[in-house]
Symmetry: C2
Subunit: 141 residues, 2 copies
C-alpha cells in the first residue's frame, strides 16, 4: 500500500514537472515574440544557449547566440508579427525538453502575406532559465 | 586528491556516454539508409518510437510509427539513395539525445537531381535501442 502511494506520488511528480516545463517554456516563447516585435534582438539572443544552433530553411545552420541574434535581426527586415504556439512539450529530464509547435508570421512589403509552418525546439535549463538550444522549422502545418 | 580523481572519472564517464551515444545513433542511421534502399518500410518504422512525430517540409506533421512508415514509403516513389551524416550528437541524459546532421538524396525520373538539407532528430532510448522520437528537416546546408 505504501509502495502504491509512492508510485502515485512519483507519477504525479512527473506530470507536474512536464506541466511546469510547458508553462515555463510558453512564458519564454511569449518573451521571444515580445522582443521580436520590439526589435530587441540582443534580448532574443539572450533566450538561446551560448552554443545554440538554429537551422533556418533554405540557408546554412547558424551557430552560437551572437550569430542567431544577427539572423533574427536580418529576418526582421522581411517579416513581422511572429506567433508561435507550443503544441507539445515533452520532458526529457529535469534540464531538457523537446517542444513541437506551429508558427505564423507576415511578410513585409506592399502586399503582405501570411506564412505558416511548424518547428521543433530542444530546450535546456541553464541555471533557473529555460533556453533554446536547437531551433529548426519548415513550412506546412 | 581522491576527489580530483573522482571528478576526472566522472567527466570521462560523461564523454564516454556521449561517444557511445553517437556511435549507437550512427549505427541506427546506417540501418535506416539500408532499409530505405531495400524498400523495407516496416523496418524503417521500427526505428521510430510508437508516438514519434515526423515534420516534413511542405506538409503536415506525421504522428506515430505507422503513419511515418507510410510517409517514407510514399516518399520513396519520388526519391532514392538517401544519405544522412550526423554532425553533432548531444547527450540529454542516459535515455535522450539530440542529433544535428545533413542529408542528401536523389530525385527519381528522367533527370535526377540531388537534393540536400539538414535535420534535427531527438532520440529516445527504449529498452536497449535508440529510436527516433522527433524527426524534422529542411533544405539548405
Amino acid at each position: 500500500m505504501r509502495r502504491f502511494a509512492l508510485v502515485i506520488a512519483f507519477m504525479a511528480g512527473l506530470n507536474a514537472q512536464a506541466f511546469s516545463q510547458k508553462a515555463e517554456i510558453e512564458a519564454v516563447n511569449a518573451k521571444w515574440m515580445e522582443f521580436f516585435n520590439k526589435g530587441d534582438f540582443a534580448a532574443i539572443g539572450s533566450l538561446y544557449t551560448e552554443d545554440a544552433t538554429a537551422l533556418p530553411p533554405g540557408s546554412a545552420m547558424v551557430k552560437g547566440k551572437a550569430a542567431i541574434e544577427a539572423m533574427w535581426k536580418s529576418m526582421a527586415e522581411q517579416v513581422t508579427d511572429p506567433k508561435v504556439t507550443a503544441l507539445d512539450v515533452k520532458s526529457l529530464g529535469p534540464s531538457a525538453a523537446r517542444e513541437i509547435g506551429t508558427f505564423s508570421l507576415k511578410t513585409k512589403g506592399p502586399t503582405p502575406q501570411e506564412v505558416s509552418g511548424k518547428y521543433v525546439v530542444v530546450w535546456e535549463k541553464v541555471g533557473n532559465d529555460w533556453k533554446l538550444a536547437t531551433d529548426i522549422w519548415n513550412d506546412g502545418k
